[in-house]
């Protein structure tokens, strides 16, 4: 059984500061990480593989040359192999989640025999969470969102747990995995060495997938940037524990939260 995990490389938030007043982002250190929820998706795939024969986990990433780093890291964290969707034409091309989804869907079809696609539920940078839905649509597969664990998986069906319910679906299917679904395992040093010395990351361009830049015409465009309002610090409850608890209860009652 082949399981594809989509990997998005994002700018490491530890490397930049946001100045709300000037509405600017200052990149102090340009470093990249794998989108955290994608690591949870990868962990879920690795768990599906644990103790089972014939499961292959394939990491799939889209983007410039540096995405190779993220894909090697995905191998070090449990993927068996990786495919990098990369094309010089993409460098100047403005596309959106719909275009990216069509391209990734074509790659999934080209791999062949994929029964499950796992995506991080939301990317930490945009926070849009749009790609998984678009991808499921492009593939024509059912999508199960916010999956916390795979309970059972066979050739034809999968049973998963969400926060409050168990859901079954036919395969192939696409699952989205939230950041709190699991604790990703450590990246093993020996796998890091293998990822660079013994594994190769396949590079597929637009023509390999039968695409031309025109096929990636975006449906949407970014009209501007927005800086979410600054979070105000919480209220500090003063006095003895009893007084603080009474005050807390009173405030929760006043807000009709209890």
């Amino acid at each position: 059984m082949k399981i594809v995990v989509t990997i998005k490389q994002i700018l490491d938030p530890a490397g930049f500061t946001v100045n709300r007043r000037r509405e600017r982002v200052f990149v102090n250190r340009e470093e990249y990480i794998i989108n955290p929820a994608d690591l949870n998706a990868l962990e879920m795939a690795a768990c599906a593989k644990d103790g089972r024969q014939g499961v292959e986990v394939i990491a799939l990433g889209l983007g410039p040359a540096r995405v190779d780093d993220a894909l090697r890291e995905a191998i070090a964290r449990g993927a068996d192999r990786a495919i990098h969707l990369s094309d010089p034409a993409l460098a100047d091309l403005k596309t959106d989640a719909a275009g990216a989804a069509r391209l990734i869907a074509a790659a999934v079809q080209k791999i062949g025999g994929v029964r499950l696609v796992l995506c991080g539920a939301v990317a930490l940078d945009s926070g849009a969470g749009e790609l998984p839905g678009r991808l499921a649509e492009a593939l024509g597969w059912p999508m199960l969102a916010q999956v916390h664990s795979i309970d059972q998986i066979g050739e034809g069906q999968v049973r998963v747990s969400r926060r409050t319910e168990r859901v079954e679906s036919d395969l192939p299917a696409l699952l989205t995995v939230p950041h709190d679904a699991n604790q990703p395992r450590h990246m093993l040093g020996v796998r890091v060495v293998q990822a660079y010395r013994q594994k190769s990351v396949a590079a597929w361009g637009l023509s390999d997938l039968g695409f031309t830049p025109n096929d990636l015409e975006p449906l949407t465009s970014v009209a501007g940037r927005r800086f979410p309002p600054e979070r105000t610090p919480g209220t500090r409850l003063e006095g003895s524990i009893e007084e603080a608890v009474q005050s807390l209860v009173a405030q929760l009652r006043a807000k009709e939260l209890i």
Partner: protein, 389 residues
């Protein structure tokens, strides 16, 4: 000339840092207060992770990351816990390393493979009450008896001595010849009768790494456990120490970098006289000096690792790594403590421990005075002058 870390090593650093921050950092108190080395479950996790075999080839159960990969490991471990780094360093860098360097294929299969996998923990027994820096004054005797040797003597200040399964031991096989042909290295198992841990040291720093005295009392060692050649044990031990010294430089680098990171973070947060103390020239100069020394040390350590990995002579540079590294770490830690002020002096902060931990690096694996002799001897040798310690 390419000074960039290869991608593989960059990702290895990330992996090692993740392990140190997620697995070791939460256990610092348990490590520091243990008399028997790091907690067993942590050692088990480190073994599963492959920590104990980083430099050794994969065919011997290692990670195959070479000396450079090993320096990265020790750097990252020493950032978080010099105690843990010392346990790992003594195991890999001198214990297992001596077997890797001079062991026969059978010895490597029997000892190096389980050591690299972390199934067996190693130690390196050189120092004696009367023979520290002056290793040539070794008194431990090995007397041939049939196809075995009987070892008698006392080794002390042995890192991992009380938790090791395997130790290499230097002993006199021919007192008349001494260090020139009269000393032999042996691979010894701690389970064997006659291997006794007699005293645990109560140390100033690296308190979580067990250091002890070992008494060898009629310990019978089979002939096949001679490491290297009979009479050439001193060479085996000195060769191993050369590699070990490089990693003390790496450990110091990790410790110093961590101190700088903490100091910088504090300097931009702490406000005095109407702004962050980072705006004060007194702080800026300290930070600039710290960063400059650290950068020089990084170049020295990884150039030496490159010499080792490419099979070139490295003895002089290794001694420089140890000498310069330990002194840089001490100076940088001292400055970081000064930047933190009274807060740095508090036991609740990692600086107090780092200050105590850093001090040992100027002493162990050959004092810095010995390193200066090694470096000078190496320089004068090129001019035909032999230096006698």
């Amino acid at each position: 000339m390419d000074f960039a870390f290869p991608k593989e090593q960059q990702l290895l650093r990330k992996a090692f840092r993740e392990f140190a921050e997620q697995e070791i950092a939460p256990r610092i108190d348990a490590i520091e207060h243990s008399k028997n080395g790091p907690p067993a479950d942590l050692m088990q996790k480190a073994a599963e992770y492959g920590v104990f075999g980083v430099p050794f080839p994969q065919e011997y159960g290692g990670m195959g990351a070479g000396e450079a990969g090993y320096c990265i490991l020790i750097e990252e471990l020493n950032r978080i816990s010099p105690s843990f780094a010392t346990v790992v360093g003594a195991h890999i860098g001198i214990g297992a390393m001596s077997i890797y360097l001079d062991g026969t294929e059978e010895q490597k299969q029997k000892y190096l493979v389980p050591m690299a996998r972390g199934e067996k923990i190693g130690a390196f027994a050189l120092t004696e009450p009367g023979a520290g820096s002056d290793a040539a004054a070794t008194r431990t005797r090995a007397v041939r008896e049939g196809d075995s040797y009987i070892l008698d003597g006392t080794k002390h200040y042995i890192t991992n001595g009380s938790i090791c399964d395997v130790s290499v031991v230097l002993a006199l096989t021919d007192p008349a010849l001494g260090q020139r042909g009269g000393m032999t290295a042996f691979i010894v198992e701690s389970e064997w009768e006659g291997f006794k841990v007699s005293k645990l040291e109560d140390k100033m720093g690296i308190r979580g790494s067990p250091t002890c005295e070992i008494v060898l009392d009629g310990l019978r060692v089979p002939q096949e456990n001679v490491l290297g050649s009979v009479g050439l044990g001193f060479v085996t031990f000195m060769k191993t120490l050369d590699v070990g010294r490089t990693t003390i430089g790496a450990a110091s680098l990790g410790g110093a970098q961590y101190m700088l990171d903490l100091a910088v973070e504090w300097a931009v947060t702490r406000e005095a006289f109407g702004g962050p103390i980072a705006q004060k020239q007194s702080i800026q100069w300290m930070v600039a000096d710290m960063a400059t020394e650290i950068e020089a040390l990084r170049s020295l350590v990884y150039r030496t690792a490159w010499l080792i990995d490419t099979g070139q002579p490295f003895s002089r540079e290794a001694a420089m790594c140890k000498l310069f590294g330990s002194e840089v770490c001490a100076r940088v830690t001292d400055k970081a403590l000064q930047i933190f002020g009274a807060l740095g002096y508090s036991r609740h902060m990692p600086l107090e421990r780092a200050f105590r931990d850093a001090r040992i690096s100027e002493i162990f694996e050959g004092t810095n005075e010995i390193q200066r002799i090694v470096i000078a001897a190496n320089i004068f040798q090129e001019h035909g002058v032999r230096i006698h310690p």
